[in-house]
Amino acid sequence: MFSLERWLEVFEAINKNKLRTFLTGFSVATGILILVLLLGVGEGMKNGVEEQFQRDAANQISVYTGVTGVEYKGLNPGRRIQFKNNDYDLLVENFGDELEYKSSVYRIWTGLTSYKDKSGSYRLEGVLPNYQFLERAGMIEGRFINENDQANSTKNVVIGKKVREELFEDKNPLGKLIEIRDINFKVVGVFQDPGGDREESKVFMAISTMQKVFGAGQDIRNLSFTLPQEESFDVALEKSNQLISKLEAMLKAKHTVSPLDNSAINISNSIENSKRFYDLTANIKLFFWLIGLASLLAGIIGVSNIMLIIVKERTKEIGIRKALGAKPMSIVGMVLHESIFVTAVSGFMGLIVGLVLLEFVGPMINTEFISNPEVSFNIAISTVIVLVLAGAVAGFFPAWRGAKIKPINALREE
């Protein structure tokens, strides 16, 4: 089937029919190229939209305390509930495996902060290292609070971009000492936050540091955590509701709060907001699947069309070859061999050009809604293989018909 003689024959035909080969190859290559670019842009668009709506995606749950509203077990209403570190431990012990990111938070609403002659009043938050992801704080310089800061209660702080601009202007803040409420802290990092100025005028430190330095003992203002993204909104909703009701019951029991009390323990869940995001990504996925399938189909039709034309064009040659003793299968083999070879080679060329374009030009186009356009190599390769196979199947029938034509009829063709 794949003898050297056949290859020589095919190469001769390719060599002597440069225009035909070029046109076939060109259309297959551009088809693949467009397909790859389309898939890439689709992926980029999905990435972009995901980035844009990432805040919405997070099923962030926050638990904070208030004042009891109903009398319970002889305790009067109006009693203030205070979370301690062991409430956080309770959360981690019981639900640690189901959570994505988690942190306890202690907050001081205003903290006078100064560096040399500049000063400002900022929100102080004591947090755990995970809080970076809960806040979606992106580090511009340095690092976020880490486990070491928490374990040793180091006086390291991470400041927001706004804080940096106000205190340091264009000087490098890393390693500098700033004074917060007359106590020296070392700046180890600067963060930015998609929430803008308000979110960026904050100062973070380890919660253990904050509790010690500002005399908060074991107190915690709230528990903050996220659940991982699920396949669909319904699954996410069910999981979060289950977890919330269990956690609420546990905390109420621990703090002797009536199960009917609505004000002592408050849980805010952002999952309803994420519904839009789940719908959106599902729709985008569907949309680009459809586009991908449609372009694949168009590609298959295009390749089939070319094959049909090639066979038609070669009818007379087929007649001559048959008169000279070519067997039908050898005709089919010859036509398919040539076209599969041409489509495969040009398909891969289109693929490579597409991947190179995505690789090098992709990062340059970073508009709001397209980010990091890329296409999985496996998908791209399978697309090429599908196209080549489709071309072969589509080419087989005309080739077979061509081989079946009586030579005398084929020879009359002009």
Binding site: A13, K16, A323, G325, K327, I408
Partner: protein, 233 residues
């Protein structure tokens, strides 16, 4: 060499059946040079197609070199054509993207002969038809007469038992026609069996035997005094 008995062939055209060959009895000995003559519609092309296994008869028997030709599958027909027959056509039917040499070598490709030997043999046949210097040329760089010579070399290359020529001079002027017929006579003189379909009387006179077809039957079959083509060039 060729033995045909009571050959019938009809074509269906719509509802009507057209009886083209109505009982042909005909035989050709080895080394003969026969012309089949007749006006258009006489059935001469149909006869040639059946002889060339490009078409099959409805009735009757056909033996070629002692082998009975019947119930041909495409594959077997291809095999027989390759082994037994060489074709020469009015419109040359060379593959236009192949050089003269490669065209001549093509039947040998289908005999599974290796490339080197193919080229050597093809070259010797090109020399025989006087076109060795044109081996690398494409068909469209050759004159009509030269194309037909290439086609003759190709028909010879497969070393067939019989050469079938369909109006081989139909597209050529008379001088070139006679040159081609001279070549055919030479090949015949070396012992090759050749059948020529023609409607030109002067071409027929250059063969050794004329078979006249009319309305699907042979009306006349006679040996003649061969006119040497060279005398007319």
């Amino acid at each position: 060499m060729i033995e045909i008995k009571d050959l019938h062939k009809s074509y269906k055209i719509g509802k009507n059946s057209l009886h083209v060959l109505k009982g042909i009895n005909f035989s050709v000995e080895e080394g003969e040079l026969v012309s089949i003559m007749g006006s258009s519609g006489s059935g001469k092309s149909t006869l040639l197609n059946i002889l060339g296994m490009l078409d099959e008869a409805d009735l009757g028997t056909y033996h070629l070199d002692g082998v009975e030709i019947k119930n041909l599958t495409e594959k077997i027909a291809a095999n027989y054509r390759n082994k037994f027959l060489g074709f020469i056509f009015q419109s040359f039917n060379l593959i236009n993207y192949k050089s003269a040499l490669d065209n001549v070598a093509l039947p040998l490709y289908y005999q599974n002969i290796n490339r080197k030997e193919r080229m050597e043999r093809a070259m010797s046949y090109l020399e025989k038809v006087g076109l060795a210097d044109w081996a690398k040329h494409l068909p469209n760089e050759l004159s009509g007469g030269q194309k037909q010579r290439v086609a003759i070399a190709r028909a010879l290359a497969g070393q067939p038992k019989v050469i079938l020529a369909d109006e081989l001079t139909g597209a050529l002027d008379s001088t070139t026609s006679y040159e081609i017929m001279h070549l055919i006579q030479e090949i015949n003189d070396e012992g090759k069996t050749i059948l020529v379909v023609t409607h030109e009387e002067d071409i027929a006179q250059m063969t050794k035997r004329i078979v006249n077809l009319k309305d699907g039957v042979i009306i006349d079959d006679r040996k003649i005094e061969q006119v040497k083509a060279l005398a007319n060039v």
